[in-house]
């Protein structure tokens, strides 16, 4: 290649002109005598217009662009013609010439470098394989025949991080299953941006606007499982795909072509999930998965696209470590959960699980007054006189062997979780881990299937990512109608199915209102509104938080003004049977607007609320907020709301909300009914 270190689209033109320049100096380059054979081949390409073949477009990632085509691949070494990025015909001809004339050896030869292109050409043009018998693709053959053995494909979607709604966007991988029964021995391909520079402020912006190069990479699947399940605590969904072995092989040939090839990574559209779809198209070119794409691509939407195309067969769920911990804990009574915690916290030697003294200690006075777990875990410890079962409340049920197995297994998972979370040193972890397992190994295997976690609603069955909402309401005796558009993604009051309970991630939510007195108003524009109300338990103690920033209307000096606000908050969330999820957060709010003295006002206060799912179709969210402004302006702001949500089906829901707010002694009450449509 003439210019190998091209960094942006602007520079690409320079490489072309450089090529033309060279061409003028050495005109013979283009018109070197071609063997008659090549002449015939090129003629055939013209006659059959092979460069318009769909598979050729798929392999080169060509997309229609104004009058012609442009490839989404940015790496010049992916193209054999200097015009290849925008000219499928020139690229095809150059490919033929290179394949026939290249004097490169073995793995460097275009036959080996661009295996899928070569095989397609060979079949289309009836090229005799013997022509290139001397070229030996050692690396490629070793990879496909000795290491990966591609046989079938599985699309993998790691869902959200615990307590991190942002990760709801997820990620997708393509697992390539080979000869092994164990899926851990498969390999997984993904597309990811390679950040070469030091992380810094512009990291994010570079990711957003295509300043990082994205590459396809292949990893052992067990590595990915450890990363997502064990370290990041993400449940994984595995969708097996109905590709034949030939199709899988074609996919792999294309993946090989993309080795070390970059295209610029754009967070919103040309991201990890979108690029993975090209691999599926390479397996089966008729799929056309990469065509019908919105300006932004949310990974779970690519799962839907793939599912809608009919290639998915069945779904498997691979629970995160935290999910396993919750599940095993749910099989044990509180006292026994506490034993597991004591072991994991090094407060109880694992071998003492068999000793009666342990159970005497468990109801010691000190324990009773200072439960080591969490001061908030009400009802967590069934001591006398709260004990349900025992005579006079003093009978403590010691665990039988089945319970002991679960207790030790729970302790094991918890210790690993703590270590991954850096709550233990490697030394302390290894000692404790082995001590528990030594006890555990004496107790035999648990009964079959005892740890099969309940499978939640798969993410693609949740409501779709965009929301249009039409509303009708009354605000202080004035009727209004509103239209609301939200490009992404999920809010507390949307149906939970397929999402993480208590999480919200909203971008660019825009509301327009028409009041019956003739006013049309931009009511609010929530640029970012994220909440994570993640419940604390004996095993996990996450912090809850929220961040909201955007424009909203506030009554100030008897008039409504559009105010810009930044409103973060931190706090705690608990869950119980009666109140559902309930949260309490401390918050600050900075308001910016011309109406304020020096144009801003800052305050602090509280935010409390509950989210209670009454049935699968009915959810209630109650919340109250109070803010006192003492910086630049002196006033208070109070707000309370009750929202009932009714889920009609996957993509329709109804919200009925009643709210009251008081700002600067201006009170305002509002009742409204919204129909939400997800698309």
């Amino acid at each position: 290649m003439i210019v190998s270190s091209i960094k942006g689209c602007g520079l690409l033109k320079r490489s072309i002109s450089l090529y033309i320049f060279i061409h003028i100096l050495f005109p013979s380059y283009l018109f070197s005598e071609e063997t008659p054979h090549i002449g015939d081949v090129l003629k055939k390409i013209e006659e059959e217009r092979l460069y318009e073949d769909n598979y050729w477009r798929v392999l080169l990632h060509y997309k229609p662009e104004r009058s012609g085509f442009e490839s989404l691949i940015d790496d010049p070494s992916f193209f054999l013609s200097p015009y290849g990025k925008t000219d499928p015909k020139a690229e095809l001809k150059a490919t033929v010439r290179e394949v026939f004339q290249s004097d490169k050896k073995d793995d460097e030869h275009p036959k080996c470098r661009f295996v899928a292109r070569y095989e397609w050409l060979r079949d289309k043009l009836n090229i005799d394989e013997a022509t290139f018998a001397a070229v030996n693709c050692k690396e490629y053959n070793n990879m496909i025949n000795n290491i990966i053995h591609p046989k079938s494909l599985v699309l993998v979607f790691p869902a959200s991080y615990m307590n991190n709604p942002a990760s709801m966007f997820g990620h997708t991988l393509l697992r390539i299953d080979g000869l092994y029964q164990s899926k851990l021995l498969s390999y997984a391909a993904n597309y990811a941006a390679l950040a070469e520079d030091e992380p810094g402020f512009f990291y994010v912006f570079k990711g957003l606007f295509g300043h990082y190069k994205g590459y396809f990479k292949v990893f052992p699947y067990y590595e990915r499982v450890a990363e997502y399940n064990d370290i990041e605590q993400r449940d994984m969904w595995e969708y097996s795909l109905n590709f034949s072995e030939d199709e899988v092989k074609r996919m792999f040939m294309h993946l090989w072509e993309l080795k070390d090839i970059y295209s610029y990574y754009y967070f919103f559209d040309e991201n990890c999930s979108y690029n993975l779809l090209f691999l599926l198209e390479a397996a089966r070119p008729s799929l056309q998965l990469t065509d019908n794409i919105k300006p932004w691509v949310i990974p779970v939407d690519t799962i839907r696209i793939v599912k809608d195309s009919g290639v998915t067969e069945n779904i498997k769920f691979r629970p995160a470590k935290a999910t396993k911990i919750r599940h095993i804990a749910s099989l044990l009574e509180e006292n026994h959960q506490k034993l597991a915690l004591k072991i994991a916290n090094q407060a109880l030697e694992p071998e003492n699980i068999h000793s009666d003294e342990t159970y005497t200690n468990l109801r010691s006075k000190e324990d009773y007054e200072n439960p080591p777990v969490s001061p908030f875990s009400k009802g967590g410890l069934q001591y006398p006189p709260f004990s349900k079962g025992g005579q006079e409340g003093f009978e403590y049920k010691s665990p039988n062997d089945t319970d002991k197995i679960k207790i030790l297994d729970l302790a094991t998972e918890t210790v690993q979780y703590k270590y991954n979370n850096r709550e233990l040193t490697q030394d302390a972890y290894s000692k404790l881990f082995l001590a528990i397992l030594r006890e555990r190994s004496k107790l035999g295997a648990p009964e079959e299937s005892s740890y099969n976690t309940q499978i939640p609603t798969p993410p693609e069955d949740g409501h779709l990512s965009n929301r249009l909402s039409l509303g009708l309401g009354i605000q202080d005796d004035i009727l209004f109608q509103e239209i609301q558009l939200r490009p992404a993604y999920h809010s507390l009051t949307d149906p939970d199915q397929g999402y993480v309970e208590g999480s919200q991630i909203v971008f660019a939510d825009t509301t327009l209102r028409y009041y019956n007195d003739g006013r049309i108003r931009l009511e609010s524009f929530d640029m970012i509104d994220i909440s994570s109300f993640s419940p604390r338990s004996n095993f996990f103690q996450p912090l809850s938080w929220k961040i909201k920033t955007g424009f909203s209307r506030k009554t100030y000096h008897d008039e409504k003004h559009l105010i810009y606000q930044v409103n973060p908050g931190f706090g705690l969330t608990y869950k119980n049977r009666v109140a559902g999820l309930w949260y309490i957060l401390g918050q600050v709010n900075v308001n910016v607007g011309g109406e304020f003295k020096d144009s801003y006002a800052a305050g602090a206060g509280l935010h409390i609320g509950t989210v209670k799912k009454i049935t699968d179709y009915w959810k209630i969210n109650l919340s109250a907020e109070s803010l006192f402004y003492g910086i630049r302006e002196w006033f208070h702001e109070n707000r309370a709301a009750a929202v009932q949500s009714f889920r009609l089906n996957q993509n329709n829901s109804i919200n009925l909300s009643i709210s009251w707010e008081e700002i600067f002694k201006n009170e305002q009450t509002e009742v409204k009914l919204n129909w939400n449509y997800y698309f």
Binding site: A226, I231, S430, R440, D598
Partner: protein, 158 residues
């Protein structure tokens, strides 16, 4: 007004940059228990960190087409014929192997059995044997994966 906004932006920029700078690279913690990579630091647990993670989904900073796990500094088991996959798997999964052996079942154990070509019909008995010999396999907390594999083979063939 302008000053305030500029101030907010500058302060938050400094904050974000600081937090990023605090993130450290994953450490290699050896060839035995606990060698699995840990979280990159507490960064991902901070508010800014969580927000930024939205945008980092799919951004990573290491090599390309990395087929191997990079276990070259770890020794290989001596009792098996050259078997790179077995060694790699054992090094990367030694914790889960310990857990599965102690529990007498599990995906890592099945994977190991497959890599050692233990026939399906004798696996149940093998798992039970390994479980009852747990302490002879994991002899100390400093044991390396290669020794674990050797001990396993000694018990199966012994």
């Amino acid at each position: 007004m302008k000053k305030v906004i500029v101030g907010i932006v500058v302060v938050s920029m400094m904050f974000v940059t600081q937090v990023f700078a605090a993130g450290e690279a994953q450490k290699n913690t050896g060839c035995g228990l606990g060698a699995l990579a840990m979280k990159d630091s507490k960064f991902s647990e901070t508010l800014i960190g969580q927000l930024v993670m939205t945008f980092l989904n799919g951004i990573s900073g290491n090599g390309t087409f990395g087929i191997t796990t990079g276990t070259s500094e770890c020794k290989a088991p001596t009792k098996v014929v050259e078997n790179e996959r077995l060694k790699e798997f054992a090094v990367a999964n030694v914790d889960n192997l310990a857990k599965d052996i102690a529990m007498g079942q599990g995906e890592s154990l099945e994977t190991l059995a497959e890599l050692m070509s233990i026939p399906a019909e004798s696996r149940g008995a093998t798992y039970a044997k390994l479980q009852s010999n747990f302490s002879n396999i994991f002899t100390s907390e400093n044991i390396e994966a290669a020794d674990v594999v050797d001990n396993i083979i000694a018990i199966i063939t012994g």
